[in-house]
């Protein structure tokens, strides 16, 4: 279950990985999501290797079809990541957009 405290704890980590550039290592496009993501489907998810070699997952946003490929350069951005919890707190997290 998602709680406001978990969201708060996660926020401290997210700010460290914003605005980072990297390349798509592998991708997929999800057509059958879990409950919190139903509204966004279908959506692409990418595994990105940042310039410091750290790997991060995120959905790809503001993209064209041809951006969904291995090696595409992307940058991490802050976006709402799932439906608000029962307490109404909106969960923000990392997504990527093509450079």
């Amino acid at each position: 279950m998602i709680s406001p405290i978990k969201i708060w704890r996660r926020q401290k980590e997210i700010r460290k990985i914003l605005g980072k550039k990297g390349k798509i290592l592998v991708w997929t496009k999800i057509f059958t999501p879990g409950t919190d993501f139903k509204k966004y489907a279908p959506y692409p998810v990418v595994m990105v290797e940042l310039e410091n070699k750290e790997k991060i997952y995120g959905q790809l946003v503001d993209y064209e079809k041809e951006d969904l490929k291995t090696g595409r350069e992307v940058v991490s951005v802050l976006r709402k990541v799932r439906e608000p919890s029962i307490d109404g707190v909106i969960a923000y997290g990392v997504k990527f957009k093509p450079l």
Binding site: W27, T28, I30, T32, T35, K38, Y57
Partner: protein, 383 residues
């Protein structure tokens, strides 16, 4: 010496008239009847289950099993996502290694169809890392990433993957306990809707209900009395990172590779001695990777080899894979899967596999995976 002396599985499928514990009870009664053991002859129980706590608000299932079995013995539940059944079997074997003259009941069960697909998918996602969950990565999504990586690296297409499902649906058509009994074609697979690109509905195992049970013993007198009995040569559990992104190679499941190497070393047999294998085909790509990581085929080769269908029953191959129909066609009630796989190998080794009986089987292997490869269990049985 530890022997497996009996196996029972319920029907796998959408069993709306049955609860989790109805299924558990049927599996217990079925395996006791088959081995002609009474409840009082069972010394311990190991129960593999993943989702009862997450979906059904049912924990302390061990006590519920005590109530069903009407005994007051040690009962333990194991959870290792989709490898919960294989892990329960492994612990049961360890229990027997530590205690002489005991009989242990191992049950795997799952109830998944009481909920909407989204709710069940969310429940299954509990076995992925927090970051994977936050990105909206489902299990089909994680295996789809592995599939995309594999297809790109070795220059295969979605058609190569489709042959896994065609073969396993054919096997499912021969298994009356299977969720799906319908044969399908490569075209059917390719025309089915995407679940997570490049994996489609017919690349994916279904959401199923079901329970399976086996009895293990190290009681010599009992082993001698039982008509149907096989030896457990090895059962190995290996774990790895929960996050796919933390793995060095995306085209292999390292836990499978390591568990397989250890299991073959302990069993003191070679890969080519295995005539039947139940491998963890939660998605078509998973069987492709399993065939390579278990050491049956070389890395990168399975995409081509699967098209020959040498592992399909009736084609005269030396290794037949997933005669039960695999997770794809037999169904995938997650906690039950690992036990059903071992049970299917038992049926093959003891000549009870009826219209899908492979000839001259001496050794068989079962391969059960949890999550995207965070746990792997490899079991080798011999007649």
């Amino acid at each position: 010496m530890i022997n497996l002396i009996g196996y029972y599985t319920t029907q796998f499928g959408e069993l709306w008239d049955k609860s989790l514990f109805d299924l558990v009870e049927e599996a217990i009664n079925g395996v006791l009847k088959q081995t002609q053991l009474s409840n009082k002859q069972i010394d311990a129980v190991f129960f593999g289950n993943m989702l009862a706590g997450v979906l059904g608000n049912n924990l302390h299932s061990t006590s519920r099993i005590s109530e069903i079995l009407k005994v007051n013995i040690p009962i333990f539940r194991t959870e290792a996502a989709c490898a919960s059944g294989g892990a329960a079997f492994n612990l049961a074997k360890s229990y027997l290694e530590a205690n002489s003259n005991k009989n242990v009941l191992v049950i795997g069960a799952e109830k998944m169809t009481d909920y909407s697909p989204e709710e069940t998918i969310t429940g299954l996602s509990a076995a992925a890392s927090g970051e994977e969950q936050e990105a909206g990565l489902t299990f089909p999504g994680l295996y789809a990433m592995m599939a995309n990586f594999y297809l790109e690296k070795y220059h295969y297409t979605e058609e190569n993957l489709a042959y896994v499902s065609v073969k396993n649906h054919f096997h499912g058509s021969l298994n009356e306990k299977a969720h799906f009994r319908k044969k399908i074609s490569v075209e059917d697979v390719l025309k089915s809707a995407y679940v997570a690109h490049p994996l489609k509905v017919l690349d994916s195992s279904p959401i199923s209900d079901g329970a399976a049970a086996v009895i293990l013993t190290n009681n010599r007198d009992l082993i001698n009395k039982q008509k149907k009995s096989v030896s457990v040569l090895a059962s190995e559990v290996v774990t790895d990172t929960i996050s796919l992104k933390e793995r060095k190679n995306l085209d292999e499941i390292l836990a499978t590779k390591n568990a397989s190497n250890i299991a073959f070393e302990k069993a003191k047999i070679r890969r080519r001695d295995i005539s039947v294998a139940e491998v963890h085909d939660c998605f078509s790509i998973a069987e492709i990777l399993a065939m390579e990581d278990l050491g049956f085929w070389k890395k990168g080769e399975a995409g081509e080899k699967i098209k020959e269908l040498s592992t399909k029953f009736g084609n005269g191959g030396s290794l037949i894979v997933n005669t039960s129909g695999g997770l794809k066609a037999a169904g995938h009630p997650v906690g039950a899967t690992g036990i059903k796989q071992i049970g299917e190998v038992f049926l093959q080794l003891t000549g009870q596999a009826e219209n899908r009986q492979v000839k001259n089987v001496k050794y068989g292997l079962a391969h059960n995976v949890g999550g995207s490869g965070g746990t792997a269990v490899v079991t080798i049985l011999a007649i």
